[in-house]
């Protein structure tokens, strides 16, 4: 693995808790690694598995889903949906040969700027250790041969 590999991470952040947690980390001038591109969603329950798979298929090395702590959901139980989808998605990705840990779920409240910063840095290092995913690459050789 090349040492200059910079992980590309997509972060789906719930607008009520985790996105505000990210804002708090920013306004508090906390330092964390810049590898995650945040996407604000209305709820972690709005994060369709399609979004995660599309991110991975199109070049992301890892995906973070962050939402309100259970019991704190603005929509009462949106994050319970996320809680059910995540283990199924992990199992699916394992069957498809992705290493455990490419997709991560965290509950981060609006008050937890420090947890947000720590999560992003930790997750970035974790993906760096796993190396690039580069999903599209495995199709290139065969498709070039037969084009």
């Amino acid at each position: 693995m090349s040492t200059d590999f910079e992980p590309r991470i997509i972060g789906f952040l719930c607008r009520w808790c985790s996105y505000n947690g990210a804002d708090l980390a920013g306004t508090s001038r906390m330092k964390y690694l810049p590898n995650m591109v945040p996407i604000r969603t209305n709820c972690s329950g709005r994060v369709d598995p399609t979004h995660v798979l599309k991110a991975l298929a199109e070049g992301a090395d890892g995906v973070l889903i962050a939402g309100c702590h259970p019991g704190d959901c603005h929509y009462i139980n949106g994050n319970y949906r996320t809680a059910g989808r995540y283990p199924l998605m992990e199992k699916l990705l394992e069957q498809l040969g992705l290493e455990h840990g490419r997709v991560r779920l965290e509950w981060i409240s609006a008050a937890e700027g420090d947890k947000f910063a720590k999560t992003v840095t930790e997750f970035t290092e974790q993906i760096r250790a796993l190396g690039p995913l580069d999903w599209g690459k495995q199709f290139e050789a065969e498709e070039a041969k037969t084009a």
């Binding site: 399609t50 798979l53 059910g84 989808r85 995540y86 199924l88 498809l96 495995q138």
Partner: protein, 322 residues
Amino acid sequence: MSKPKLALYWAASCGGCEIAVLEIKEKILDVAAAFDIVFWPVALDFKYKDVEAMADKSIDVCLFNGAIRNSENEYVAKLLRDKSKIMVAFGACATMGGIPGLANLSNREELFDLVYRDQPSLDNADGVRPQLKTEVAEGELDLPEIYDTVRTLDQTVDVDYYVPGCAPEAEQIWGVITAVVEALKTGVLPPKGAKLGVNPKTCCDECKKVKEEKKIKAFRRPWEFIPDPEKCLLEQGLICMGPATVAGCGARCTTANMPCRGCYGPPADVLDQGAKMLSTVASIIDAPTPEEIAEIAATVPDPVGTFYRFGLASSLLRRARI
């Protein structure tokens, strides 16, 4: 005016689509009356060289079933694309990879190891494996090259229309054929990329079972119990792909008390059928804490084989990592 020309071909498929065409019964005679069938390997003795000799775009409609998993499938797909005005992906395999697409959980070497080395009933002491070229007394023989990745027809050539299903239902096939005959007469064709022989809603819409609020405490499999024939199968804990599958089959499987497996593929605008179904299944688990919900969700035994039984090759990730 001469009759429009029709070609039918099977690539990586089981032959069920060919049977499905005959399932229209005596109307097959109407097909023969309306079309000049110029290529149909299962029924008529034409060779590839006959197709190669045809002028480009001289075939009006090609119904192509089967996935693309070797160099022969691919060669004929490209050949028929060149020769045909309208290319139709016919059946689940051509549309989404179908059952052969599940080979994308593996790769060529693993498949060869299983088939030519590890099968307990195998008699292959010399370890013979398929070769692309073999010398025999009469000369050199060729075999098509098997690919690592099973592809859909539209991942290989430009496709005009899709007729999904494993296999497509007879009345839908007949509907498509009459629509094509009409369209060729009037010159007014459906928009390119349209799914033909489907209805706009989902399989649930055609399913007559009584549906209430979906809350599941445990997943069950069809062999474990006899489901109540009146009630929604999903509500009884069976993973029924109905909510993530486009209507058109008349809900035949659920009518026979078996869960839908999703062979008609996703409704319009759904990018990934398996992801949608995974989302649905996880959303209807009824448990008080996230931990318990996660525990129940993790009991689905084979997410890829369940949610992508027909659609792995056309899914966003397309295959397991090589």
